[in-house]
């Protein structure tokens, strides 16, 4: 049989199998669907239901119903600070990642392939390091008597500079841990840019600065958008970094959720905050879809 006949025969076999095969194939989707339904969808729906319930903090009885009181509580002065701090920290850490990450991604994309590989390894290996270890390493760096403190004294600040256990330390920690997540997608989109496009811009008289802003940056936009989303969204719900670098105070939403569930036992209020974070994620997924459309056009 020639290759064409084999293909035709194979297609025939596939069609015969199709009737029996369809139900067998549907079974293949079941493990994933079942696992996701039981251990992902059901718990999240529970969180949604709980976020509208109330709890008596005396008897710990939960009353289900439809109240917005938990959501209103997020905007009470007690938690409003935490909410604003979470948003500000994740936005500024994302901006910081972009400011540091873009030049690095740009620089890498302009090197020879060999040097590109070497530089990428230098960016990725810290990212491959255990998350908790990286956060701890940052604690060492920012703590009293650490290198930053030393450097500040050397530069003439007699009080030194201890950033540890401040919101700034959390911001630096997020910036540090998430930076590679910004560099990689931007690098991928920059690396794809056809050099001929820039040559054309220059030939047509565009100054390098103009070519950069009118050609390079727009073409890198999908990578920038993806980078901002995969940094900004997890940063909003960050738990470990504020726990370690913020000194265990409830400085961000992730810590408030944890405290409400594990220490205080107020699941309805904790759930309301969780729902707010879920909404932020939904907005991000929507943004990602837009990014993909942008890439297609």
């Amino acid at each position: 049989m020639g290759p064409v006949q084999v293909r035709v025969a194979a297609r025939g076999a596939g069609a015969v199998k199709g009737k029996v095969g369809r139900s067998i194939r549907a079974i293949l989707a079941l493990p994933t669907i079942g696992w996701v339904a039981l251990f992902f969808a059901v718990p999240l729906v529970m969180v949604l239901v709980y976020s509208f319930a109330t709890i008596s903090l005396v008897t710990f009885n939960t009353t289900f119903g439809w109240t917005w009181s938990n959501y209103r509580q997020i905007f009470d002065h007690l938690y409003l600070d935490t909410f604003i701090r979470s948003v500000l920290l994740s936005v500024s850490a994302t901006a910081g990642c972009l400011l540091l990450g873009f030049p690095l991604a740009y620089f890498i994309s302009r090197q020879t392939p060999r040097r590109q590989r070497l530089l990428l390894v230098l960016v990725i290996v810290p990212f491959w390091t255990s998350f908790i270890v990286r956060t701890y390493a940052m604690e060492n760096l920012l703590g009293p008597g650490g290198p930053v403190d030393h450097l500040a004294r050397l530069l003439g600040f007699s009080q030194g500079l201890v950033l540890l256990y401040t919101p700034a330390a959390i911001g630096i920690g997020i910036l540090y841990s998430y930076l590679p997540l910004m560099v990689l997608p931007i690098y991928v989109s920059l690396e794809r840019i056809d050099a001929a496009l820039l040559d054309a811009a220059w030939d047509l008289g565009a100054l390098p600065r103009r070519a950069f802003w009118r050609v390079t940056v727009p073409l890198a936009a999908p990578g920038i958008l993806v980078g901002c989303l995969i940094v900004g969204i997890p940063a909003m719900g960050e738990y470990v970094i504020p726990e370690v670098l913020g000194g265990g105070k409830t400085l961000m939403l992730g810590n408030v959720i944890s405290e409400q569930f594990l220490s205080i036992g107020n699941a309805p209020f904790g759930s309301a905050i969780a729902v707010v974070l879920m909404l932020a994620m939904a907005a991000a997924l929507f943004g990602l879809r837009r990014a993909r459309k942008l890439e297609e056009t």
Binding site: F39, P147, L285
Partner: protein
């Protein structure tokens, strides 16, 4: 003007790379520092490594991490491979829905998902502990594994399966001799990644482990919260070497096995079915 900008981006890049490495190098140096306060260099010692290796909480935590990691890897691969085999011949609509489930699991802030599962388990009376953590890790690890195995499935020609079936191979034989070898690089990479992610996880483990033996990252978190000792630097360095090797292996597996599996899938090997 061009050269000047390259100089500037080069300078910024050098500083950023320095920023990425400085904390790790600092922790690495301090892991050998005799000074318990880590304020100044007081000579080299292996004391912290010896302390770490003798620490029973650390040892128990490591064992727990490996147990959880292996179970999570197995379950995630089972879900990812069956899912990918379905996905391979699914309609475009089915694929989109399936992919949505995958991306939702990846994008969901981990703390949200972890408390949700904590809420479910505590309400239905499912005990927190090793099994609960494995279930939790599998939820998001299977999503990453699915992406990798699906990417691999796209490169396989379904006609090969049909041809093998046509030549008389039973469905199980087709699966074992044609589909699985083709998927192997994806399975290996997904497995290594799942193990590493599970090994590295703090948040899901922290919420779901209850009062059972805590896995290593959770042990480290509580050590960091309550005391600072150079022992953590030593553990950190050992964990770093381990996770970097695993990730590196995952990375190399994709490129290495890629060629081997393609050879195994070439037509002559089909003749002996």
């Amino acid at each position: 003007m061009r050269a000047r900008r390259h100089l500037l981006t080069g300078l910024i890049s050098a500083l950023v790379v320095l920023f990425l490495w400085a904390p790790l190098v600092n922790a690495g140096i301090n892991s050998f520092n005799r000074d318990i306060l880590m304020a100044a260099w007081k000579g080299a010692t292996l004391l912290w490594y010896r302390t770490a290796l003798a620490d029973t909480t650390v040892k128990a935590g490591l064992g727990q991490t490996i147990t959880i990691g292996l179970a999570t890897t197995g379950l995630s691969l089972a879900l990812a491979v069956t899912g990918a085999l379905w996905w391979r011949r699914a309609t475009a609509r089915g694929r989109r829905l399936f992919d949505l489930l995958t991306y939702l699991r990846i994008m969901m802030p981990e703390v949200v998902f972890a408390v949700a599962l904590f809420l479910l388990f505590s309400k239905i009376g499912f005990p927190l502990g090793t099994l609960a953590v494995i279930i939790g890790h599998t939820v998001w690890n299977s999503a990453y594994a699915a992406l990798i195995v699906q990417a691999r499935v796209l490169t396989l020609d379904p006609a090969l399966d049909d041809a093998a079936a046509d030549l008389g191979a039973s469905p199980w034989r087709v699966f074992r001799r044609v589909t699985i070898p083709g998927l192997l690089p994806g399975i290996a990479a997904a497995g290594l990644l799942a193990f590493t992610f599970s090994f590295d996880d703090v948040v899901t483990s922290y919420f779901l482990v209850g009062n059972q033996t805590a896995p290593l990252p959770v042990v480290l978190l509580s050590m960091i919260r309550f005391r600072i000792t150079p022992e953590i630097n030593a553990i950190g360095m050992m964990v770093m070497v381990f996770t970097v090797s695993l990730f590196g292996a995952a990375f190399l597996t994709v490129s290495r096995l890629g060629r081997g599996a393609r050879r195994a899938l070439s037509l002559p090997s089909l003749a002996d079915q």
